[in-house]
């Protein structure tokens, strides 16, 4: 019987979750030993997985072997995003890996010679760095779902943030998505003002199925004339962001309520979330900023030429980094819970002091919270304290 190879449902997979590839149909020839079914993982287009091709081998159980290939295709790459904000739509090809899987078999035949043969190859699958928790995986499993079905097939935005959250008027809101086919699409940003007027800005763009897309959806970026936060003294209440694909009419929407209240501090945290998108969270609460120093001292003897300015204890090395304790400001429960992604994220950036459009200073940071209370129902208002640390060790000689 010929070997067959099957990849779990969906063409786009998250590398942080098991990706099951089943090789079946192999039968150990008479007199053979060490019979193994093989699975080869190889890059086919675009950015190669470092070290590919990878070959794994397993003894079959009941005629088949199931390989979890996620460890082979998990290649985190430093992520990029548009800052300062410029274009509305940017496609990235470097963050999804195009891979194929090939089945094979290997055994030592009755003559004692090693035999290895390769069979069919799968169609191209796409891998994105990210992953969901086991509970979600279990839910998907029970409901015959997967990442591709939930997020790619429906062009759902790659975020755990609620679909209607409160944002700053000039917040650099970003949404990310992956299309399931290459086709044309429209990005609509529609602002609704307190006087019941609205304005919609639509742009057409091309989607490619092996790319991840960044949508910078701040209304002011989309159209500073017609979609400012305050137009003719009238405030924008909220705005909707919608992606509509042309061929199959898939639609994804998020709504953002604009908070026009004054906040003494205005910071944002960008972080790479577990679905491969980069979220931007407005941190409107209080800020405690520190500078943490590490130093090594050395002693040296008093010498004959020593003066009033001479020291016998010297700093032989010293380095430091900034750190912040920032309160998120009042958030909804859903938004607070979505911040767990920020605490697990390996890449985050603080946009410090950014009350106006494209202002502020972007600093790579690490979220160092180890234990954080999300909310306490004794209170009706929820906020979160984030511990951030600069992702640099600064020193100068």
């Amino acid at each position: 019987m010929a070997l067959t190879i099957t990849v779990q449902e969906g063409q786009m997979h998250l590398s942080g979750n098991p990706i099951w590839v089943t090789v079946a149909g192999g039968v150990a020839p008479a007199g053979s030993s060490e019979y193994k079914l093989l699975c080869k993982v190889k890059s086919v287009y675009g950015v190669s997985l470092v070290g590919q091709p990878f070959i794994d081998a397993k003894a079959p159980v009941a005629g088949s072997a199931v390989f979890d290939v996620s460890g082979y295709v998990h290649q985190p790459a430093p992520r990029d995003f548009h800052w300062p904000q410029s274009g509305q739509v940017t496609g990235y090809i470097d963050y999804t890996y195009d891979v194929r899987f090939q089945c094979g078999e290997r055994y030592i035949d009755s003559n004692g010679d090693l035999q290895e043969s390769w069979g069919a190859e799968t169609e191209t699958n796409f891998i994105l760095a990210g992953g969901v928790g086991f509970r979600t995986l279990g839910y998907w499993q029970e409901n015959d779902l997967n990442f591709h079905d939930v997020y790619v097939a429906k062009m759902k935005f790659l975020t755990h943030m609620p679909t209607n959250k409160v944002v700053h008027p000039y917040q650099p809101v970003k949404l990310w998505g992956i299309p399931h086919t290459s086709q044309q699409a429209f990005l609509s940003v529609k602002g609704y003002y307190e006087d019941s007027t609205s304005y919609e800005r639509i742009v057409e763009f091309g989607l490619y199925k092996d790319m991840i897309f960044e949508f910078s959806v701040s209304p002011y970026l989309a159209d500073p004339v017609n979609l400012p936060p305050v137009k003719g003294g009238v405030k924008m209440s909220y705005y909707d962001v919608t992606i509509i694909t042309v061929s199959d009419g898939i639609e994804a929407t998020m709504r953002f309520y604009v908070d026009h209240n004054y906040h003494e501090d205005c910071n944002y945290l960008f972080f790479l979330n577990s679905l491969g998108g980069i979220d931007c969270v407005w941190l409107s609460g209080s800020v405690e900023k520190s500078y943490n120093i590490q130093s090594v001292q050395a002693s040296k003897p008093w010498n004959a030429a020593a003066t009033l300015k001479t020291r016998t204890t010297v700093i032989s090395s010293r380095s430091g980094k900034r750190s912040w304790k920032i309160n998120s400001g009042w958030k909804s429960r859903l938004e607070i819970e979505a911040l767990s992604d920020a605490m697990l994220s390996k890449e985050a950036w603080l946009l410090e002091d950014a009350p106006t459009f494209n202002s502020g200073t972007l600093i790579p940071v690490n979220v160092v919270n180890s234990q954080t209370v999300f909310y306490n129902t004794e209170s009706d208002m929820y906020s979160l304290e984030l511990d951030l640390e600069e992702a640099h060790e600064n020193n100068y000689n």
Binding site: E34, V69, G71
Partner: protein
């Protein structure tokens, strides 16, 4: 997530479970075949693990032997990525924990097979000798190359007397008998001392004194040794590099068997124990009748003729008694190669010089190709720790065959006099023409494989009246057989690179051994022979030779075509002055896969190139720790 499976069954692990993975680069080891290992494995005792490993309370009793504490087919994976497979060795068991370590497959091979002699392995038996005119390395298992060995038959069979002519001191012609083995004389007269005499393209063995010695191709032996351990050679310079192709493994076994023709004969034997009834009269001869009492009759089955025939081949008879480990180390340390165990049951033979040149075997083009050095800069986490630069002299030591009188007992290690050596010469005649060397100069005469010293000596000469005169002379005087250990470097510290492999001496057109042989009829009187190789090729009519007939590369260490220049020159320069470095890297799984599967290659960071000697990574249940790499800067 880190998973540990035993025969495909998941073993539950503690939340704090971690394992220290270690990988070694065989290229950097000269006295062992290093294996990879997963160290510090602690498995919690629970209902699952007890089912596999036994109740800890009774572990010591039930699993009293080391082998019973080994569990094969254990796999360590992270997110499905196979980190290591091999044998779990449980060293201790308590109520809470089984403690042990994971031995990679190469380590398993090491333990089970490395100490086993090649001759004890399952080689083909009772194979009819194929007396071919053309032997092909890729087709045949063996070749029958011709060489000279005039004492192969020594101590086998009876002696015969040969008249030896000589002149006495008065110049008069004399003859005296000298004794020589009958079969030795037959070999000399019928086969001109040749083993595998090939006067007409095939081995001639119809006459008495023939020696027929098939010699296994080295590539066949290597392939089979690994195959018998379920490993298979992939990249193999002994097949693909011209200088190294066409070698056979020497042996002193002969397929000739003896069918003795004998008959019953009676002999009168003097009975020394006979004591007459009455005392013998003093000074008076006994009558003849009485003398008969001193004789008794003895019957023997006397061999009146030998019928020789060709027996079948047992391949094990054609191999030296050498363990698999020594066999591999011998090849490694002679030809400057290293055996690299891959995870797919294949073994690549890596040429160390290729490591420095950045060459790898390309399975598609079946050639060695130069590849870009893999860059680890993106994963480098800090600064290098630079060690003390070495400055050592490399001493390449070969183990010569002590049973071959061409080497014999006259070998003396002249390492301490390395500074006295001048260039080798081909013949003694050439040496005698050199009279301008300073006293104490040593030179190797390649054709004789002997080392001579230019020194002050006293010669005793006789004048016309036969009176002895002592004369002070300068002369080339024999000091040792060669070749000597080859030395490279200038450091005071010496590092020995030992190999049990050697070759034969070539005089004129022929390789020569002076070594007693072995055959089925005299198996109980086994004459040792060591691991030696030589080239055999149709180009020179299958004459065994230490010089490659195709490329002129030799198996001797000296010279432009010698082993050192051809195989060791670049590596030795690097290794004798190597600079140890150590650094930490954060390697993602796929990069870890690449590095561990290509650990024999050179790597780079922005600071330059280096080769890895060993690397260790601590891997926890849900995290991959930093990888500590120890290596040498290029």
């Amino acid at each position: 997530m880190l998973t540990l499976t035993y025969n495909g069954n998941d073993i539950p692990l503690d939340e704090g479970f971690s394992v220290r993975m270690s990988w070694n680069n065989p290229v950097c080891f000269f006295d062992q075949i290093p294996g990879d290992a997963g160290l510090g494995i602690d498995i919690p005792v629970n209902v699952f693990s007890r089912a596999y490993f036994g109740h800890p309370d009774r572990f010591e009793k039930l699993r009293a032997t080391a082998s019973s504490r080994k569990f094969q087919n254990v796999e360590l994976r992270f997110d499905g990525f196979l980190l290591m497979c091999g044998t779990l060795n449980i060293t201790n068991a308590t109520w809470e924990t089984y403690s042990g370590w994971l031995q990679s497959n190469v380590g398993v091979i090491g333990e089970q097979q490395q100490e086993r002699d090649l001759t004890d392995m399952e080689w083909p038996e009772d194979i009819a000798f194929s007396n071919k005119a053309i032997f092909e390395e890729d087709v045949d298992h063996y070749c029958a190359p011709q060489l000279k060995n005039g004492i192969w038959w020594e101590e086998k069979g009876g002696l015969t007397k040969l008249p030896r002519a000589y002149y006495d001191e008065d110049g008069k012609y004399n003859e005296a008998d000298t004794e020589i083995g009958k079969l030795t004389w037959d070999q000399i007269t019928n086969y001109k001392r040749f083993v595998n005499h090939r006067p007409y393209g095939v081995v001639e063995y119809s006459l008495k004194g023939a020696v027929v010695t098939p010699m296994l191709w080295l590539t066949y032996v290597i392939d089979q040794v690994f195959k018998m351990n379920s490993f298979f050679i992939e990249a193999n310079p002994f097949r693909n590099v011209i200088d190294l192709t066409g070698m056979v493994v020497y042996n002193s076994w002969s397929l000739i068997r003896i069918n003795p023709v004998f008959e019953t004969q009676s002999h009168q034997v003097f009975n020394e124990e006979y004591v007459p009834d009455t005392p013998l009269p003093v000074g008076i001869d006994l009558p003849i009748a009485e003398t008969n009492e001193f004789w008794r009759e003895e019957v023997t089955q006397t061999i009146i003729n030998f019928q020789f025939y060709l027996g079948n081949i047992n391949y094990a008879d054609l191999l030296p008694q050498i363990s698999m480990k020594d066999f591999m180390l011998a090849l490694q340390n002679y030809f400057n190669v290293a055996f690299f165990w891959r995870t797919d049951q294949r073994v690549d033979i890596i040429m160390r010089e290729h490591v420095l040149e950045g060459k790898v075997w390309d399975i598609v083009s079946e050639t060695y190709v130069t590849v870009a050095t893999f860059d680890l800069t993106d994963y480098f986490s800090g600064n290098w720790i630079i060690g003390d630069q070495k400055d050592v002299t490399l001493k390449f030591v070969q183990e010569y065959d002590r049973e071959d009188r061409m080497f014999g007992q006259e070998f003396h290690d002249l390492t301490e006099r390395i500074g006295d050596f001048a260039a080798a010469v081909e013949t003694f005649a050439e040496l005698e023409l050199i009279t301008t060397d300073r006293e104490g100069t040593l030179r190797l005469v390649r054709s004789e494989n002997k080392i001579y010293e230019w020194k002050w000596s006293v010669e005793v000469l006789k004048d016309i009246n036969q009176q002895e005169n002592q004369v002070d002379v300068m002369k080339w005087e024999f000091v040792s057989t060669g070749p000597q250990p080859y030395l490279f470097g200038s450091g005071d510290e010496q590092e020995e690179v030992k190999s049990k492999l050697s070759t034969l001496i070539k005089l004129g057109d022929d390789a020569i051994a002076l070594q007693k042989g072995n055959m089925a009829s005299t198996r109980s009187l086994w004459n040792e022979f060591s691991f030696r190789v030589g080239f055999a090729s149709a180009i020179n009519g299958y004459k065994l030779t230490p010089v490659n007939p195709i490329s002129s590369a030799t198996l001797n260490w000296e010279g432009d075509d010698g082993i050192f220049t051809k195989r060791w020159k670049t590596w030795s320069r690097f290794w004798s002055t190597r600079l140890p470095v150590e650094g930490e890297f954060y390697l993602p799984l796929n990069v870890l896969y690449f590095v561990s599967n290509n650990i024999h290659r050179k790597f780079r960071t922005e600071h330059g190139e280096f080769i890895i000697e060993s690397m260790e990574t601590e891997i926890g249940l849900n995290l991959i720790g930093k990888t500590r790499i120890k290596g040498y800067k290029l």
